[in-house]
Symmetry: C2
Subunit: 276 residues, 2 copies
């Protein structure tokens, strides 16, 4: 592994360290940033690692700055990794709308021009960034995954496609059924093409309904005051095989914002810790 | 009171509510925003209120988004009010540098042109916004004040000048002695003029050294890895009369960022709660 990482920021926070890195991605063919929280390495020399995937328009900063996760992560001895949400830069295809292109990678491997040149976010996270985390950063602890909205979709898809690797999945306000809602249809049509057969392996509701591998416990929180609930999110479409450890909680009065995430992030970290 | 407030945002967070308001300020002659956290009003019908004053370049959003204060405030039943850091807008005087003009009001009443037309932040907070909070929003509980950097200076000055009103003061990385450090000299020279006699009543180190009213307990946290520590902040210059309840804590390895504030905000809220 000769991956060159540039450390952009380092801050002490609680009893741990918050870092931001930049590197050149061979998978995405552009410069990428990601953020990492490490608990106190003296107390937790090989911490478990939770992947956080953010939603539309976000970078690695949103969760890092706004979720308030570091306090509980420091206490439980959990590392947190926050990737960006798409390839970036002037040479990378983009769209005038905020729900397609840069900031909206949807954690898939695009097959359609012009997106296929850079939009390989699944491979970037599951392979390239994983190798950096393990080999360059030396983080080889057990792993789980979580995310918000588009990133909740990403966490469900990546977790369900890799059940032997991820020990738990949690999501805030996820897009559970992208094949059938406007955000997902627009993105999948652009990135994956018009043939809906190609969409099924990127749709959590379809992956979970047919899941026959090791069950990965899922916790899903959804606010009832979320403006996107009925059109884009529809958590009722996430239906698991009988006996599958899936818990969906409707949270009264919370919306789609980071205020909702902050309110329940400690419970999510405790859920992950229990399975890591 | 006929003050017209426009509610821009409202979010449920923990067991409380985060709001953002806009209004026309008669004192500053421009539109202003401020943010407000309210604990559960059923449990805490007349909460105590802590004022938070932010630092250079900030708006009312920085603390609201990044400090992670709402969890503990909800638990203790404390309201938090976050004003902006200066008058704003195209008709308001500004400077090309980030440490003077918009985003850098220094919580003083300017006497020099062109700043005196709008930069009356002390009066805005102590009188106009106070009246809005009490009469329009109905918040009449006991009060204390805290802040960061330039806002730490503001909290110390406003608290020490109004010892019968504010029950406690706390500060992260405050500018304790603006008369003698580059940020303060530049701002005071512009806003207050060259005569340093006029500066003393806006300098916490001078106000505290000569304080003879009711002592207001002060908690000050300063990170040792703060790049501004030795040139701009110099907490050792805050010297209280013998027996004054002043606690200065040097916090090892923390910097000037909101990661530092997040790490200790719960302890600050508990300190305030004890005196409210």
């Amino acid at each position: 592994m000769t991956e060159k990482l540039e450390l952009l920021e380092e801050h002490r926070v609680f009893d741990g360290t918050q870092r931001k890195y930049q590197h050149h991605s061979e998978t995405l063919h552009c410069a990428m940033t990601f953020s990492l929280f490490l608990p106190n390495v003296e107390k937790f020399p090989n911490p478990s690692l939770i992947w956080w995937l953010s939603g539309l328009t976000c970078t690695d900063d949103n969760f890092t700055h706004k979720a308030g996760a570091q306090k509980k992560a420091a206490e439980l001895g959990l590392a947190l990794i926050m990737p960006d949400t798409s390839p970036r830069g002037e040479t990378v295809a983009d769209d005038a709308d905020w729900d397609l292109g840069q900031g909206a990678g949807f954690y898939v491997n695009a097959t359609q021009q012009p997106w296929d040149a850079n939009y390989q976010m699944y491979d970037y996270i599951v392979t390239e960034l994983t190798a950096i985390v393990r080999e360059t950063l030396g983080l080889t602890g057990s792993e789980s995954i979580m995310g918000h909205s588009m990133g909740g979709h990403g966490a469900l898809v990546i977790g369900l496609r890799n059940p032997d690797r991820f020990h738990a999945i949690s999501a805030f306000s996820p897009i559970v059924n992208p094949s059938d809602v406007p955000w997902g249809i627009k993105a999948f049509d652009a990135y994956l093409g018009a043939d809906k057969q190609a969409w099924a392996s990127w749709d959590a509701s379809k992956l979970l309904a047919s899941h026959d591998g090791k069950p990965v416990p899922i916790l899903l929180d959804q606010g009832t005051a979320d403006n996107f609930l009925h059109v884009q999110l529809q958590p009722e479409n996430l239906i698991a095989p009988e006996g599958y450890p899936l818990k969906i909680r409707m949270q009264d009065g919370y919306d789609h914002s980071y205020y909702f995430i902050a309110s329940f992030i400690d419970e999510h970290l405790e859920f992950h810790q229990k399975h890591l």
